[in-house]
Amino acid sequence: MKNKKVKVGTFETNDAPRGTNRRKFLQMSGLALAGTSLLLVGCSDDDDMGTPNPEVFDLGSGNLGILNYAYALEQLEAAFYTNVVAGSYWQSADSNEKQILEDVYEHEVIHRDFFKVAINAAVSAELVLPELEFDFSSVDFGSRTSVLQTSALLEDTGVAAYNGAGNLIDASDSAGLTYLLLAGKIVSVEARHASAIRNLLQPGTTNFASDDVLVDIGGSGIAYDRALPPADILAAVSGTGFIKTKFTAKNLPTP
C-alpha cells in the first residue's frame, strides 16, 4: 500500500490552475478536457485494484448513476448559494439582485433535497450519494463580481449537464420517462437562472444567451445551449476545487 499511486480523487484530471482566472479556466476546461475519461478516476496503478477504497462512493450505473450525478451537481449549487446568502455582498446588494439570488438559492436547495428524497425512495440508502463537503475558499463572497461570475458558471454548467444527460437516461420504462421529464423540468429553470445572473453581469445586453456559452448545430447559427457528457462536466467541476469529498463516476452511461 505504500507509495500508492492512486488517482482516487474527486476527479484528479488535470492540475487546476490556482491563481489564474478561474472563470476563464472553467469556461474552457469542460471542452478542453473532453475525452478525458473518468474511468481513470479511482483506478490504481498498483495491484490493489481488487480492494477499492470503500470510503469512495461511486455514482453507480444506469439511471441511478445519472440521478446521483444530478444530485451531486445540485448539492454543489445549493451549497454555493447557501454561502452566497450568508455573505456580505448579498447582504448589502440592491433589492433586485438580492431577490434574484435568494430565489435561486431556494430553487437549488429544493432541487437538492428533492433528489435526496427521490433517490432514497428508489434505492437503498447505501446507493445514494452521501452529503458532499465543499470548499469555496476561492470565491470571495464579499465581491459582487466573484459571486455573480461563479453563479453564472454553475448555472451554465448545469444547463449543459442536464442537456447532455437526457440521452443517457434509459427511458425504456415509465420510471425512465419520469426521470427524463424531471430533467426537462429542472434544466429550463437552470437556464432561467443563467439568463438572469448573466444579465446582472451585463444588463440589457445579449449576455443572457451570449455566443460564448452557446453552440451552432449544423451551420444553422449559434443558437443552441451546449450539451456535455458527464465526463466533461465532472472534469470542469473538478477544476474548480469546490468539491472536497471524493467520489467516482466509473459506471455512468456514456454517449
Partner: protein
C-alpha cells in the same frame, strides 16, 4: 459534420489553447459551420442506441406520443411563429426602444436559426416540413401588438414560455431518438433563457411562480398546471417552508404542455 464532430473540433487542443482566445475558437467554429450544408444535419430517426432496441420492443409508453417527424413539424410551426413575430417586431420602426434592440435582435436570430435547422433536419430525415402558416399577431385585431411595446413584450413572454413547455412535453416522444432528443433539449433551454430575459424586462421574475399570469386574456391557458407541487411522485407541498415554501417549489420546476394544449394557444395567432 454532426454535433459530435463539432465537439471534437472544439476539443481540439490547438483551437482551445491558441492565444487563449475562446472568441477566436468560436469564430472558427462559425466558419466551419458556414461550410456545412444544412441538409447534412444527421437526424437519426432510426433506433440509435442500446436502450432503444429494448425500448421499441417492450415499451408502450412512447407509443402514446407523436412520432418524431410529427414532433419536429410541431416544433417547426412554433419556431415559424416566433421567427415571424420577432422579425416583424424588429422591423417595425419605433416599436422596440433602441436600448432593447440587441436583446430582441439576438432572440430573432436564434428563432430564425431554429427554423432553418428544423426545415433542413426534417428534409434530411425524409419528411416534409410543414408549410409556413399565415400569422396574425393581433389575434383578429384584438391586440395592439405592433403599436404598443408592452403588448409586444407580453406576447414575446407568452411565446417563449409556451415554447419551453412545448418542447418539454415532447421529450418523451423523442426518447428513442438520441440525436433528436439532444437537439430538442438544446433548443428548449435557449427558449428558457429568452423567457427569463423577457419576463424580467417586463418586471416579472425570470421564473414562473405558481400559475401567475400577467398576459393578455388570449393567453389564459398558458400557465395552466404550473402550480404543480408533485414531482416524480413526491408531493413537495409544505416541505420547504424555510426556503420560499410552495411558491418556490412551483418556480423550481417548469411544467410541460401537451401538443394539443400548445396548438390551442398557437392557433389564436394562426389565420
Amino acid at each position: 459534420m454532426n454535433f459530435i464532430k463539432i465537439l471534437d473540433t472544439l476539443s481540439n487542443k490547438e483551437l482551445l489553447t491558441e492565444t487563449g482566445s475562446r472568441r477566436d475558437s468560436f469564430t472558427k467554429m462559425k466558419n466551419i459551420g458556414k461550410d456545412m450544408a444544412l441538409a447534412s444535419i444527421p437526424f437519426g430517426l432510426a433506433a440509435t442506441s442500446k436502450k432503444t432496441s429494448a425500448a421499441t420492443m417492450a415499451m408502450p409508453s412512447a407509443a402514446a406520443q407523436a412520432d418524431p417527424l410529427a414532433i419536429l413539424n410541431f416544433a417547426l410551426t412554433l419556431e415559424y411563429l416566433e421567427r415571424n413575430f420577432y422579425a416583424m417586431g424588429v422591423g417595425t420602426a419605433g416599436l422596440i426602444p433602441q436600448a432593447d434592440m440587441d436583446v430582441f435582435g439576438l432572440i430573432a436570430d436564434h428563432e430564425a436559426a431554429h427554423v432553418d435547422f428544423l426545415v433542413a433536419g426534417i428534409t434530411a430525415a425524409g419528411g416534409t416540413p410543414v408549410a409556413e402558416p399565415t400569422f396574425d399577431f393581433t389575434a383578429g385585431g384584438s391586440l395592439d401588438t405592433f403599436n404598443n411595446y408592452q403588448t409586444f413584450m407580453a406576447l414575446a413572454q407568452g411565446f417563449e414560455d409556451t415554447g419551453v413547455r412545448a418542447y418539454k412535453g415532447q421529450a418523451g416522444g423523442l426518447a428513442d431518438s438520441n440525436d433528436l432528443l439532444q437537439y430538442a433539449l438544446q433548443i428548449h433551454s435557449i427558449e428558457a433563457r429568452h423567457a427569463s430575459q423577457i419576463r424580467r424586462m417586463r418586471g416579472e421574475k425570470g421564473w414562473i411562480v405558481q400559475n401567475d399570469n400577467t398576459l393578455p386574456a388570449n393567453f389564459a391557458a398558458i400557465y395552466a398546471g404550473e402550480q404543480n407541487t408533485v414531482q416524480g411522485g413526491v408531493d413537495l407541498s409544505g416541505m420547504f417552508g424555510n426556503v420560499g415554501g410552495d411558491a418556490a417549489v412551483t418556480a423550481a420546476f417548469d411544467e410541460p404542455l401537451t401538443m394539443a394544449e400548445v396548438n390551442a394557444i398557437a392557433s389564436i395567432f394562426i389565420v
